[in-house]
């Protein structure tokens, strides 16, 4: 399949890209890794008249710690996250997620910015960024603004990025000591989207009491879901089989999966419970190590 015709520009500065967006508005789309957009264009699910390829703009791909935040440039590829020593040692939840996103070739192209700008609850990074309480940096002609992840996803394929703006970075607060995080998804085979997925970040104090908890869920709600009741159920408590079971139970009750080829609703709720339980345990293990 070949996409319908479109105009194409590959600007080399962010300003030029923003000018093009301003000019073409709704008819234009940003092309990052292209591994969600091009398949959709082939299927005519998307028919942009103008593609603005941002791959030739320098300075949009980086992984660094700065001013209390881990900052990840929007154009950072999944493969770069997967192989980064900083990520591997301090933010293993991204390694967990990147490894499970598609396959090595797709990860050489797909970007973290595109993964969330796509606005699809089936993608894996949204849940991770919810668990980490990330903020999203969005750039327009007027400058930069940041949006908390909880205010980023509006609906199916719809996000806080306006049509004349570009998502430029993701900021994750550097976690305090005693923090651990983990992600896992159930997939039928490599390259499949999640049947269900759970991202968990926990901070434990020296007595083993949970002082902070973030839990995000993949593909079990029309938008990426924060499991708020589960987070509350953990905060201020020690992790016991009972508190973990309670948090897992709330997550399976509060999600809204739809039945599809990956399973029916009861099955998906059950899988959410199991994944949340296991990721709480894994995050706690990492917090203590």
């Amino acid at each position: 399949m070949i996409p319908a015709s479109f105009e194409y520009e590959a600007p080399t500065t962010l300003d030029e890209a923003l000018d093009l967006l301003e000019k073409h508005g709704d008819d234009a789309k940003i092309l990052a890794g292209g591994h969600s957009l091009i398949p959709m264009m082939k299927l005519r699910f998307a028919e942009p008249e103008f593609l603005i390829d941002i791959n030739n703009i320098p300075g949009l791909a980086y992984i660094k710690e700065e001013n209390g935040y881990l900052k990840i440039g929007a154009l950072t590829r999944e493969a770069e996250l997967e192989h980064s020593d900083l990520i591997h040692s301090k933010y293993p939840i991204f390694t967990d997620a990147s490894k499970l996103i598609a396959d090595p070739q797709v990860r050489n192209m797909g970007t973290i910015g595109g993964n969330i700008a796509h606005g699809d609850a089936a993608n894996d990074h949204p849940a991770v960024l919810i668990a980490l309480n990330a903020t999203v940096e969005i750039t327009g002609k007027a400058g930069k603004r940041t949006v908390p992840i909880d205010e980023f996803f509006f609906g199916f394929y719809s996000t806080a990025v306006e049509e004349n703006e570009i998502l430029t970075a993701i900021h994750v607060p550097i976690p305090s000591n005693g923090t651990g995080n983990a992600y896992h998804k159930l997939e039928r085979k490599v390259g499949d989207y999640a049947t269900a997925g759970a991202a968990v970040q926990l901070t434990l104090d020296s007595d083993g009491v949970v002082t902070n908890a973030g839990i995000g869920l993949t593909n079990v709600n029309p938008t990426p879901l924060r499991a708020s009741r589960s987070e509350q159920a953990l905060k201020g408590k020690k992790l016991t089989d009972e508190t973990i079971a309670e948090a897992a139970q709330y997550a399976s009750e509060d999600c809204n999966p739809s039945a599809d080829l990956r399973g029916d609703i009861a099955y998906k709720r059950a899988m959410v419970g199991i994944l949340v339980k296991r990721m709480i345990q894994k995050a706690a293990e990492r917090a203590l190590s």
Binding site: P3, P104, V106, N108, M109
Partner: protein, 168 residues
């Protein structure tokens, strides 16, 4: 809605006018006439169209030709000079790493990057490494052996035996 692009394919620069919507795999097969790169699924799943773009293995059915402007492309035809074989090609030949051969160019190109990143992969690392490439014939075992064989050869070590194992 066309533009002029320059791509270097297996060391040779090509300047040509392409439609914006032309896929990279079609550029390679139909404009540059290198038909070693295959189209299996056309949906980024099977890996038959895998090539190296600036040294990274990618699925050329999900990239626009215009995105490759100014870049280096390597296809299976560029692995070795005519009449010669890359150690991976030799490994696939020695270990029956192919039956129909449709998946083979993609498997080879993916394996090039895999062994560059990790010259001594474990069996599990190889299986994860080729998880974006489907083979409907071999059952993968001989492909894994072929890659192990090539990795030994490329490290200058003795290659594993290619005698079949009989189970009594």
């Amino acid at each position: 809605m066309a533009r002029e692009i320059t791509v270097t394919v297996n060391g040779t620069p090509h300047t040509l006018e392409v439609e914006n919507r032309l896929l990279l795999v079609h550029l390679i097969r139909e404009k540059i006439n290198l038909t070693g790169t295959h189209i299996g699924c056309d949906t980024s799943n099977c890996g038959a169209c895998t090539i190296l773009l600036n040294g990274k293995s990618v699925k050329s059915c999900t990239i626009l030709a215009v995105q490759a402007n100014g870049k280096e492309i390597q296809t299976v035809e560029g692995l070795a000079a005519p009449g010669e074989m890359h150690p991976l090609q030799e490994g696939f030949k020695e270990n029956h790493g192919l039956h129909c051969g449709f998946c083979t160019p993609g498997m080879l190109m993916r394996s090039v990057e895999l062994l560059e990143d990790n010259p001594n992969p474990t069996e599990e690392e190889i299986r994860w490494g080729i998880s974006g490439n489907l083979c409907r014939c071999t059952g993968y075992n001989n492909i894994v052996k072929a890659i192990q064989w090539a990795s030994a050869k490329m490290r200058g070590e003795e290659t594993p035996s290619t005698e079949p194992e009989f189970v009594s």
